[in-house]
């Protein structure tokens, strides 16, 4: 027990901006006042037990006015923003909002790791990796040529006015995994829809949300919307990304953006086209055992916010392209963080990631799968990092890769 002179004087806390905004702004409504201190949130939190911090503690401290400590803590940046806490809270307290809002109250220079820098890059040129437009177009075309060796009639325009689908891509793809672009081309080609690759504002991620940089978050969304509307596209086909999809859908609501087009996640498109019979498939081309990781942002958090999730559609597609698909447990809304959520991949808390990542490793081990399908680029990297750290033989794979691999194209 600490001595009296170390007591925190609650009545001497002057300003409580975090508490005020959480309680008053219905948009961020966390209803902290309803917290019963029951502890369900901490029992499902991946970070529980790693340090003395947990969601309940953070809520308690904010309620009592001790919010500076919360804003300055490592906890809010170690947090994976998976929202498992929000899911289980019996009083409906949106604990996840607390973390994002707290992040936004840090000064720019105090945001740990690379999230802020990445957000700034996104703002300047329209993508995280600061890939200039001409380089981007070069990469698109290069990959198109590769595909055309096998599928000569595959072609698509760049910046086509009035195309139905505007494609977004994670900037990691052209930078690190350009071959994956080929999978995307094949799928859209097989679907027989009208689509176009944009030359700018094609970025599918949004690290501004991770950094708590609300201004950049809004700016980048609006720029992208402007570009899509300029091209007059009906749909934005959202790349296999979790947080980007969430940042977009939740961001539109939060910032009052009303686009003239509809956003559809690629996984939902694959399932739709599959049901419409647009694909000819040979699942024997994917003989390995595959399990599925449900990205939090496009799964649980989509359900909590009320927009379309990808959980059932992922499974629908997998069952058609993989003869040996097994579920890990728990899954769907009850699934567990890949270990890279909330910007954790670049915020510098690797030790924490690998600590709670053990649960993920165990989940995957039990399925005895060789491949972990992750319809999210960050989850993909996180799972591959876990495999390396824990020396496991399994590895991550995108859903587009499994689908594209199973597609049968008639030789003309």
């Amino acid at each position: 027990m600490l001595a009296e002179n170390q007591a925190i004087r609650l009545d001497e806390i002057e300003a409580t901006p975090l508490r005020d905004v959480l309680i008053n702004e219905s948009d961020w409504q966390a209803n902290l006042n309803y917290c019963q201190n029951c502890g369900k949130c901490l029992s499902v939190c991946p970070l529980h037990g790693y340090s003395e911090w947990d969601p309940r503690r953070a809520v308690r401290m904010v309620l009592l006015g001790m919010e500076k400590e919360v804003i300055d803590s490592d906890f809010i940046f170690q947090c994976t923003t998976c929202d498992r806490c929000t899911l289980v809270c019996p009083m409906g307290v949106r604990i996840g909002s607390l973390v994002t809002r707290a992040r936004s109250m840090r000064k720019r220079e105090d945001v740990p790791g690379g999230s802020q820098k990445t957000a700034d890059l996104h703002r300047t040129i329209g993508n995280n990796m600061q890939i200039p437009t001409d380089e981007w177009i070069e990469t698109i075309d290069w990959m198109k040529e590769e595909v055309q060796d096998d599928i000569p009639d595959l072609d698509f325009p760049i910046d086509k006015q009035g195309a139905d689908f505007f494609i977004t891509i994670n900037s990691k793809l052209p930078q690190y995994y350009p071959m994956e672009l080929q999978c995307i081309y094949k799928i859209f080609h097989a679907a027989g829809v009208s689509w176009t690759m944009p030359s700018i504002w094609w970025e599918g991620t949004n690290y501004a949300m991770f950094a708590g940089d609300l201004d950049t978050w809004e700016y980048t969304l609006r720029q992208q919307v402007k570009r899509v509307e300029e091209l007059g596209c009906k749909y934005m086909a959202y790349t296999e990304c979790g947080h980007g999809y969430y940042a977009t859908m939740a961001g539109y609501k939060k910032f009052g953006i009303k686009p003239k087009f509809e956003v559809i996640h690629k996984v939902n498109l694959y399932a739709k086209w599959l049901k419409e019979g647009r694909f000819k498939l040979d699942p024997s081309r994917n003989p390995q055992r595959v399990t599925l990781h449900d990205p939090c942002n496009a799964g649980r958090k989509a359900v909590l916010e009320g927009f379309a999730d990808i959980m059932e559609d992922s499974r629908y597609v997998l069952r058609h392209v993989c003869p040996d698909f097994v579920e890990m447990w728990p899954n769907r809304e009850n699934g567990y963080c890949c270990s890279g959520g909330g910007g954790a991949l670049i915020s510098g808390f690797a030790k924490a990631r690998f600590h709670y990542g053990e649960v993920k490793v165990d989940q995957i081990d039990r399925t005895e799968a060789q491949l972990v399908c992750t319809p999210c680029v960050n989850c993909f990297d996180a799972i591959d990092d876990l495999a390396k750290e824990y020396q496991r033989p399994w590895k991550a794979i995108h859903l587009w890769a499994l689908l594209a691999n199973a597609l049968v194209f008639e030789k003309s």
């Binding site: 170390q6 007591a7 004087r9 609650l10 006042n33 503690r57 308690r60 009592l64």
Partner: protein, 676 residues
């Protein structure tokens, strides 16, 4: 044979399982045409107008007793009779609830049919020879006696007077109110009502009688006076001790009571002030203190004040419950929960410094400055509580307050018809809570005392006066106040209007002078004889199932498709307390493998201690069996709730696995020779 003694068996064929298990051929085998049983197969005998149809058939076919065989019997509560048609006497009813015993969860059709057959045979044996069901009418006084002097007492009186009930208000204490002051307009309105008989400074000497005819004797300065009433409503406040916070704080002007806090907030005296409300100082405060603290703090916060509530536990059951807690916190009341260590208060000239450790943030000390400290007076039971409990012959709760925490009777009822507990019986009086309780009592009274007469089934308990030694055992054990000594005739009187027909008295009578009306010992023995016959090659286990617990749980099990073991047969009883030593031994003697008695959990028994009696009785019988070398493993007692079907399945399966095989009763073997 007297044609009136035919038994009607009504088979509900609408359910395919039942139809399949009890075909016409099967039934002709069980009940030959020259016997006393008529079988009626029909689509449904358990829907809403079924009783009327059954009644008409019984009238035309001259049937005196009926058995209804369906998947379950309505909600699981088995009625004991069906009203007769056109002036005919009511028909005693037994139920063969096939699903309740999971006859059709049995996978094998032969087993299913055999079980259904056994269940029907048991039901017929049970109802054969049932005494006619008769009714009588007694006069009822509609005056309601309200005992007490707090909010609840006055609210109750007001509501009753408005509803046309004459009220006798026996004020045992000066109207004070504890946390909430008593509104004088309410007191005036009640006191000035022409139908009110008001007596102040009352000391109750005795409370006797039954619903419709209570008799309250009061000690007065001059002579004892008697007040008659049809119902009694107890609304006495608990006591409060003075605040004792320690020398320094007790002297300080900065410490006020919870009541004063409430009044000051409403009067606008504390609008900008910060206040610390400290509850659970000596352990846990009663619910009323927490709820009063929350409502005053909520109002204070709405007026710009800064209340901080320090607590160990805030019970949120009752009228406002969780909503009040949520509203208070949303309005800005800070709540801090402490645990082992009490908070510390240091008064200075015009404020207090409070030091506390929150139960979540245990690694730090919190402190704040406050203008005032508010503490509720500790609430304790008063001597009146104990005295009234003695007079009413009802138990106190664990803390010594009136009306124990038995879910069957809370919030307002008791085990005695016409006796209610409201307001501060187990807490201080909370006017919002009292307002709801008062409405609940009014609804109860309208059902119990609808007019100047009460219509009641007569002969609920039948006494053989020759065997009665007037030992008063039944009187002492009756939880419902339904037995009265008749000194002139050296026997006991059974008060039908007060009787709940639990059957406890029949089981405790040392002279075996009492029988349950409509279910005599010979009827029970006939049922046990059928039940104990060999079933599917084994001696079956007989489970005496209480209707408030095991029977409902078995029905739930059937509905959920949970399997209950084949070898267990249910004999339903109104209360586990009715299962006497004699019935247990009889069940074994007839040739069953073992006996299980299932009653409600402790403190859940409608008849207060019926279940506990059964448990102790079984222990004694087990000891006796052990002593004579017959082994105690063949009898078991379990308590159960109606919503525990899986636990029921568990209990029965374990019994089937663990009880010794075979039988110890000789009579069963003889019977088998006679049954071909």
């Amino acid at each position: 044979m007297d044609t009136k003694e035919r038994i009607g068996v009504f088979i509900e064929t609408g359910d395919p399982q039942v139809a399949e298990s009890l075909t016409q051929k099967e039934l002709d085998n069980i009940f030959p045409k020259n016997g006393d049983v008529s079988v009626f197969r029909g689509e449904s005998w358990t829907d809403a107008d079924a009783p009327a149809r059954i009644g008409r058939l019984c009238a035309t076919e001259q049937i005196g007793q009926a058995v209804v065989c369906g998947p379950s019997v309505g909600s699981g509560l088995i009625p004991e009779w069906i009203d007769g048609e056109n002036g005919q006497a009511a028909i005693a009813l037994s139920a063969a609830a096939i699903r309740e015993q999971c006859a059709w969860v049995e996978k094998d059709p032969a087993t299913r049919a055999a079980k259904a057959r056994r269940i029907v045979e048991m039901a017929v044996a049970r109802v054969r020879g049932a005494a006619p069901v008769e009714f009588s009418t007694v006069e009822a006084d509609r005056t309601v006696a309200v005992i007490g002097g707090n909010h609840a007492a006055f609210q109750m009186s007001a509501v009753l007077l408005d509803a046309g009930f004459p009220v006798t208000l026996l004020q045992t204490e000066a109207p004070a109110g504890c946390f909430y002051p008593l509104p004088s307009e309410l007191v005036q309105r009640v006191r000035s009502h022409p139908n009110l008989c008001h007596v102040e400074n009352v000391e109750i000497d005795s409370l006797q009688g039954l619903v419709g005819a209570f008799c309250i004797r009061v000690c007065g300065a001059k002579e004892n006076t008697v007040y008659p009433a049809g119902a009694m409503i107890v609304a006495v406040d608990a006591q409060t001790r003075p605040l004792e916070l320690g020398a320094e704080l007790d002297k300080s002007d900065l410490v006020i009571s919870l009541r004063e806090y409430g009044q000051s907030v409403v009067a606008g005296k504390l609008d900008r002030k910060s206040v610390c409300i400290w509850i659970d100082r000596d352990g846990l405060d009663r619910r009323c203190a927490g709820q009063a603290a929350l409502s005053f703090a909520l109002e204070h916060a709405r007026r710009g004040g800064h209340p901080v509530l320090l607590y160990r536990q805030i019970p949120v059951y009752g009228a406002q419950g969780q909503v009040l807690y949520d509203d208070a916190r949303t309005a800005g009341v800070t709540v801090i929960r402490y645990d082992e260590q009490n908070p510390r208060f240091e008064p200075s000239a015009d404020s207090l410094r409070v030091t506390i450790t929150d139960t979540i943030l245990t690694d730090r000390v919190l402190s704040l400055q406050t203008d005032l400290l508010v503490a509720p007076a500790p609430v304790t039971p008063s001597a009146t509580h104990a005295w009234l409990a003695t007079l009413l012959r009802q138990p106190l709760d664990l803390d010594g307050f009136l009306q124990p925490g038995n879910v069957r009777h809370r919030p307002v009822s008791s085990a005695r018809r016409g006796v209610y507990f409201i307001g501060g019986c187990h807490d201080q009086c909370d006017p919002a809570q009292a307002a709801l309780e008062v409405q609940a009592v009014l609804a109860g009274l309208k059902a119990e005392l609808p007019s100047g007469e009460i219509n009641v089934r007569s002969q609920k308990i039948v006494i053989d006066a020759d065997k009665c030694a007037a030992c008063l055992t039944c009187y002492r054990e009756c939880p419902h106040g339904a037995i009265r000594p008749n000194q002139a005739q050296h026997r006991m009187d059974f008060l039908d209007a007060a009787c709940w027909q639990c059957g406890i008295c029949t089981a405790v009578c040392p002279g075996r002078a009492l029988e349950y009306g409509g279910l005599s010992l010979s009827q029970m023995q006939a049922t046990l004889e059928v039940a104990a016959r060999e079933f599917m090659g084994h001696a079956p286990i007989i489970a005496f199932a209480c209707r408030q617990s095991a029977v409902l749980a078995a029905d739930a099990a059937g509905a959920a498709g949970i399997e209950l073991p084949t070898d267990v047969l249910f004999v339903d009883v109104p209360c586990a307390g009715m299962v006497s030593d004699q019935l247990i031994l009889d069940a074994l003697e007839q040739g069953s493998r073992g006996v299980i008695v299932i009653g409600c959990h402790h403190d859940n028994c409608r008849s207060l201690w019926g279940s506990d009696l059964a448990r102790k009785r079984l222990e004694r019988v087990a000891d006796a069996l052990e002593t004579i070398g017959a082994g105690s493993e063949r009898i078991r007692f379990h308590s159960l709730a109606a919503n525990e079907p899986r636990r029921l399945a568990n209990i029965l399966s374990r019994a089937v696995d663990e009880m010794p095989a075979g039988r110890i009763g000789e009579r069963g073997k003889e019977n088998e020779k006679n049954v071909s």
